[in-house]
Structure formats: structure tokens, C-alpha cells
């Protein structure tokens, strides 16, 4: 019995406002993707197209697979099945089009490095192996720092920055990548209000210039205000589409609902050894 049929049997098809057929011009197009850590499935049968030029929120409870969705799309964790296309081609052939901001806690902020050097890492992919960093790249990194209001901190060692400033450094690094799609894992986690405003302003700028931005987000209060498109996730896509249409109490209850769904019971059984399935 395949993963897809379990989903269909227990939980029904995901609600999708966008049609089921995939578009080859979509910035991110995910086809029947299932991801598991060890034997425990984390994401079931994700199938969606992200339209261009949108600021897309990815919301869902803890353990819903929000970060995993991004990491699987970027080949950072293996997919059990399915494929992800970036403008119609696999990610490994489209790296230059994609910028990635991992969670702030995923790196060691005591690393001996200063802010502008972190930002320059965003451009390493353009430089090629074994090539040194040139002055043009340094200039671009300084400009990116300026865009997030951190130009004065370029030579600061990164552990001497506040949490909000560290997050801005990460955003500057993504800007320095000069990509067309931005994947951001919880950029608003424990940052100050000023930083949150600064980040959302930059993201809105990106959207207005035709870039596509996907953001893992936690604060439901700001969802309607920040995002024009939404992916509601709880191990599978509960709902996906324009925020105005899918951000409804009914979908929220289905995304965050406390009781065990048949689906997660099936997942538990699979983790125990697959007998019940």
C-alpha cells in the first residue's frame, strides 16, 4: 500500500484552491513529495505549485514539517518519493536562483568571523571552487548589509550582535545571493519589533520586484497582514492558496487540531514496524 493511498483513505485530498495540474513556469513546484526521518514519516504526499511574485507563509504546529518542507525542496534531506522543480528543473541545476536562510540557532555564533564575511558567503556559489573573494563581491556584501540597516556593523564579530541583528545578517546574506526565490526558516523567531518590521519591509520589496519568498512563520496574528499566499501544513498540506481564501477558522482547526488524526495514527504504526499498516 503506497503512502498516497493512506492519505486518501484516512484524511481525504488536501484542499487546494490552485488547480492540481502543475505549471512548468512555477518558481517552486512540488510533486507527490513524501519525506521521512529514519522510519517516521514527517511529510506526506505534498503536491503544490508556488506562484511567482508572492510572499508565501508556511504555517502549522510544531512538528508539522515546515522546516522539512524547505530542506527537502533544497535537497538537504532526502525525499522518500516525489520531486521538486525550480522553474521547471531540478534544484541542483538551478542553485543560483535560490537563496536559503536557515534557522538562526542552526549555526555557531561564536565562530571567529565578522558580519560582512558571513554576508559574503551568500556569494560563494557565484565565485566557483578555489577562487578567492574579489572586491566586487565585498562591495555587494556591504550593499546587502546596508539594505537591512546593518552597514555600521560590517566588521563586528558576530557573537557581539543581538538576536535581531544576527537575523538581519542572515537576511543580508540571502540578499547577496541575488536569487529569484527566497526560502526563509523562521526569520521572525525571537527578534525585536524593529527587526521584524525591517525584515518584512525587505521581503515586501522583494515580492514587489517579482521575487518569490517562502517564509516559515509562527505568529498567527500577523499572517493576514504579512502574507498574500499561504501553505497550511500538518504533516500534509491541509490548505494552500491565497491567504484571503484559505486562512479560515475551519482550516486553522484542521491544521492545529489537537486530536490525533487517522493519518498520524498510521504514521505511528509505521514507525512501530509497519504491522498495523
Amino acid at each position: 500500500m503506497s503512502a498516497a493511498s493512506i492519505v486518501d483513505a484516512s484524511a481525504g485530498s488536501p484542499v487546494s484552491v490552485i488547480g492540481p495540474e502543475h505549471s512548468p513556469t512555477a518558481p517552486v513546484s512540488i510533486h507527490d513529495m513524501t519525506v521521512a526521518y529514519h522510519r517516521k514519516p514527517v511529510l506526506w504526499d505534498v503536491d503544490l505549485d508556488v506562484p511567482q511574485g508572492r510572499l508565501v507563509g508556511i504555517i502549522g504546529p510544531n512538528g508539522a514539517g515546515k522546516s522539512t518542507l524547505i530542506k527537502a525542496a533544497l535537497d538537504l534531506v532526502p525525499r522518500v518519493s516525489g520531486e521538486v522543480l525550480i522553474y521547471g528543473k531540478p534544484f541542483r541545476r538551478q542553485r543560483r536562483l535560490v537563496a536559503y536562510v536557515p534557522q538562526r540557532e542552526s549555526v555557531d555564533w561564536d565562530f571567529p568571523i565578522c558580519a560582512v564575511e558571513v554576508v559574503m558567503m551568500g556569494r560563494y556559489g557565484m565565485m566557483g571552487w578555489c577562487r578567492p573573494v574579489t572586491r566586487a563581491h565585498r562591495r555587494a556584501a556591504l550593499q546587502a548589509l546596508d539594505r537591512v540597516g546593518m552597514a555600521d556593523f560590517a566588521d563586528r564579530q558576530i557573537s557581539n550582535l543581538s538576536g535581531g541583528q544576527q537575523q538581519r545578517i542572515f537576511l543580508a546574506r540571502a540578499l547577496a545571493q541575488e536569487a529569484r526565490i527566497y526560502f526563509m526558516d523562521e526569520p521572525f523567531a525571537s527578534v525585536d519589533a524593529a527587526t521584524e518590521r525591517a525584515i518584512i519591509a525587505v521581503l515586501t520589496d522583494l515580492k514587489n520586484s517579482g521575487k518569490t519568498v517562502l517564509v516559515v512563520h509562527h505568529d498567527l496574528q500577523t499572517v493576514s497582514q504579512y502574507f498574500d499566499h499561504l501553505i497550511m501544513l500538518n504533516m500534509r498540506v491541509v490548505a494552500h492558496g491565497p491567504t484571503a481564501e484559505v486562512f479560515t477558522p475551519e482550516n486553522l482547526a484542521r491544521t492545529y487540531g489537537g486530536r490525533l488524526t487517522l493519518l498520524s495514527e498510521a504514521a505511528e504504526a509505521l514507525a512501530r514496524g509497519g504491522r498495523a499498516v
Binding site: 542552526s106 571567529p112 558567503m121 564579530q157
Partner: protein
């Protein structure tokens, strides 16, 4: 103590060994994988034995290939054991390297190997002392064989580092980003593991496989305490490594004479010297050192004492202007502070006098105009904090406002005080009804 040419040779070999080790060592420390260095420096033993069994020579090239292969095998095995058995990385390393090391010791006992001089004790402890009696002629220059091998190793490591500098940097700092921009962090990991294994083989004739870990990890760990720059850390690790080698050999000659004991082993003393240098770095490091932490705590204590004395004198004068019954006088309060922390209180008083903020001695201590201005700032911070708390927590009893304000007044700079004034609408009196100095509607902060 007499200095021989042999001593120079020994230090030369040791220093080159330390330099070669400092490069993979720095990367291991930054990737928080120091114990991987320990594991690999042990598992090269079966690699060497296997290489000998296959090729029947002790020539350097097969030995280095054997080491490189076993380095990668070790890294792979550690990864597999960790992923497949629910153990953490440290446990996986403990399992893999002890097992492989033991296999190596058994291999050394095989008849096919036993006749050659792959002496286990030399493998474990090294034999840097023999470097002088094992010279080799390179382009007409006679040098110790160990120096040549370690020198070549250093040159190779330096070359790889310079070529892949940014790749090493990004995959050490943020492997996920490295992988998404097309710099394969896993590949960089195995390059580092290979470099570590080959360096360990080059080094183990000099310092022995047990002490390779000291040369790999201790100088970079000391360098980490001393700098906040990626490139500088490599340079410092090299310098500290060279100093450990030189200091270790000198100590190996001198210390047995002092203690009246027999010989010590130079390689062991090099590790001791590296440990001593690490301790020194830990003590004196400007940002992370013990001494600088103690000093800054001492300075903070001194400043708080000065500010407390100013505050006490200010409040007493304030009460003299508007008499209210008071339980303790300023003199009593300051005498009590002096009993509590005699040294700091005395230093604080003399500093205040030198800065012209107070005049006289106890019991006739008085604020100067300058002292009053400074004290007024402090009291303003204190009372603004009390006001702020009473706004934020209206149900808090008013006698609970003092304690947090007493702490925060010392941490409030001009900018924060201004913002505090704005947030509380610049009141002229605090929740206890006392005047707040410097309020636009009340007394000016100059005290005039």
C-alpha cells in the same frame, strides 16, 4: 645544560610537525569535531599495517595512501554507527576508534609484519629524539628525515587550505548553506578527514599517535581563545604549536635535571608545553580570558560602589533641604559599605576624591558640584525606573519598586535614561513623592 646540533634538529622537526597539525586541527576545533582528530590519529595504525601487508614496504607513499583510506573509513564508520544505532557522535567515535586501534595492534603481531621495525611503543609515544640520527640528503642539504616529512606535510596542508579557504570557511560555519550554494559540505568533511589522517601519519613518528591529538587540538584551542578572525586563528595556532615544540624540548632537557630524575620524553613534554600555553591563553585572553573577566567584574564592582556612595550623599543632602526623620545617616551607611567590602570602598572613595566629586574624609564627606551633577543623573535613573515599574505594574506595592531600580540605575546610560524619561512622560516626582532631578518641570540636573 649543553645545546647540541641534535637539539636544534629535534626542535626543527617538532616545530614543522606542529605547523602541519595546526591546519587540520584548527578546522576540527571550529567544526567542534576535536575528538574526530583523536579517533583518526589512532585508527591510522591498522591503515599502516594493512598498507604494509599489501605492499611489503615501508615506503612513504603506500603508508600515506593507507592512512588516507583509513581516515575516510573511520569517518564513514562513525557516521554509520551514529545513524544506525541511535548513539551520539561521541559514542560512535569511541566504538569505532578503539575497535580499529585494537585491530591495528593485533596486525602488528602478525609474523609478516613483526620483523620490521613498526615498533608499537614508537607508534604510541613517537621518537622525535631520533630525528638527529636519521638524516636525509635533499639537494645537498642534510636534514632530519622527520623534518622533511613534516615539512612536506605542512606545505601540502597549507596549499590545500589556501586553495579551499572559502570552501572550508563556509562548510565549517554553515554546512547547509554551503550545500545549497553548490559547495558540497560532505565532500569538504571527507577532505578534512583525509588531511587529518595523512597528517597524523606524518606526525606520529615525531610525537606518536597518542600525542598527535595534543598537537592537532591544543594549539588551535588556545588560538580560538585569542582571536575572533578565521584567518588569524590559523596563524596563531601555528605560532603556538611552534612554541610548544621548542618549549617542550627545552623542558625535556631542563626539568629532569631540576627534579633529579632520569630522562623524560620530548614528545610528552611538547604536549605538556602546549597545555601550559593553552592555560596561559585562557588566563590572559583579552575577551574570553579569566583575568579579563575578573578585571571587568572588579571594575563593575568599583563603579557600583562609587555610584552608591554618590547616591547616599545626594539623598542625605536632599533630606537636609527637606528634613524628614531618617534611620541611618550617610556616614553610617558609608561606614557599613566599608565594613562590607573594605578594599573596594576605600578605592572607590579615593577615586571619587581624585575626580573631584567628593571632598573631605569621613565623617565630613561632602559632594562637590561635579559630584552632585553625577549623583543627580544616577538618582534620576533610579526614580525614573521606579516610576516606569509603577506604570507597568500598577498592582505592585510601592516598597517593591526600590530593589530593581537599585540594580538598573547602574546599567542605565544617557540614551536609555532619555528614552525612559519619554516613556514615563518626564515626571517631576517619583511614586514615593520624591523630586526627580533633571525633570523639565523641576530642578535642573546640574543641581543649581
Amino acid at each position: 645544560m649543553t645545546w647540541l646540533d641534535a637539539d636544534t634538529d629535534i626542535i626543527f622537526s617538532g616545530a614543522l610537525c606542529a605547523l602541519a597539525c595546526s591546519i587540520p586541527g584548527t578546522l576540527l576545533v571550529l567544526r567542534k569535531m576535536s575528538m574526530m582528530g583523536d579517533a583518526i590519529s589512532h585508527t591510522v595504525l591498522p591503515g599502516l599495517a594493512a598498507a604494509f601487508l599489501i605492499t611489503q614496504t615501508r615506503a612513504p607513499i603506500p603508508m600515506f595512501i593507507g592512512a588516507a583510506v583509513i581516515g575516510i573509513v573511520t569517518a564513514l564508520l562513525v557516521q554509520w554507527v551514529r545513524d544506525l544505532s541511535r548513539t551520539d557522535g561521541g559514542t560512535a567515535m569511541g566504538i569505532v576508534f578503539t575497535a580499529l586501534f585494537a585491530v591495528g595492534l593485533v596486525l602488528l603481531r602478525l609474523p609478516a609484519i613483526e620483523h620490521i621495525d613498526l615498533d608499537p611503543s614508537c607508534v604510541l609515544y613517537g621518537a622525535v629524539e631520533t630525528s638527529a640520527i636519521d638524516p636525509i640528503n635533499v639537494l645537498g642539504v642534510e636534514m632530519p628525515r622527520a623534518a622533511l616529512i613534516n615539512g612536506v606535510m605542512f606545505a601540502v596542508n597549507l596549499g590545500v587550505l589556501l586553495l579551499l579557504f572559502k570552501e572550508f570557511r563556509i562548510s565549517a560555519f554553515d554546512p547547509a548553506l554551503a550545500t545549497t550554494v553548490g559547495i558540497n559540505a560532505t565532500l569538504m568533511h571527507y577532505i578534512l578527514m583525509t588531511m587529518t589522517a595523512v597528517t597524523a601519519v606524518a606526525a606520529f613518528e615525531t610525537v606518536g599517535s597518542i600525542l598527535v591529538i595534543a598537537m592537532l587540538i591544543v594549539p588551535p584551542a588556545a588560538a580560538y581563545l585569542l582571536t575572533d578572525r578565521f584567518g588569524v586563528m590559523f596563524v596563531l595556532a601555528g605560532v603556538i604549536g611552534v612554541l610548544s615544540a621548542a618549549g617542550g624540548h627545552v623542558a625535556a632537557i631542563v626539568i629532569p635535571e631540576w627534579l633529579g630524575v632520569g630522562d623524560t620524553v620530548t614528545s610528552g613534554m611538547m604536549a605538556v608545553a602546549a597545555g601550559a600555553l593553552f592555560t596561559l591563553a585562557w588566563l590572559v585572553s583579552p575577551r574570553h580570558g579569566v583575568i579579563s573577566h575578573l578585571l571587568s567584574r572588579w571594575r563593575l564592582g568599583l563603579r557600583i560602589m562609587r555610584e552608591d556612595i554618590l547616591g547616599i550623599l545626594y539623598r542625605e543632602q536632599e533630606q537636609a533641604d527637606h528634613p524628614t526623620p531618617s534611620l541611618t545617616t550617610a556616614v553610617e551607611a558609608i561606614v557599613r559599605l566599608r565594613k562590607l567590602r573594605p578594599v573596594i570602598a576605600r578605592l572607590a572613595l579615593s577615586r571619587l576624591r581624585r575626580r573631584g566629586m567628593v571632598t573631605g574624609t569621613l565623617p565630613q564627606l561632602a559632594l562637590t558640584d561635579r559630584g552632585r551633577t553625577e549623583a543627580a543623573r544616577l538618582v534620576r535613573s533610579h526614580r525614573l525606573w521606579e516610576t516606569y515599574f509603577s506604570h507597568q505594574f500598577p498592582t505592585l506595592p510601592s516598597d517593591h519598586l526600590h530593589a530593581p531600580a537599585e540594580v538598573l540605575e547602574h546599567l542605565t546610560d544617557d540614551a536609555l535614561r532619555d528614552r525612559l524619561g519619554q516613556r514615563t512622560n518626564d515626571p517631576s516626582v517619583d511614586p514615593h513623592g520624591r523630586a526627580i532631578p533633571g525633570a523639565a518641570s523641576g530642578a535642573s540636573i546640574d543641581g543649581s
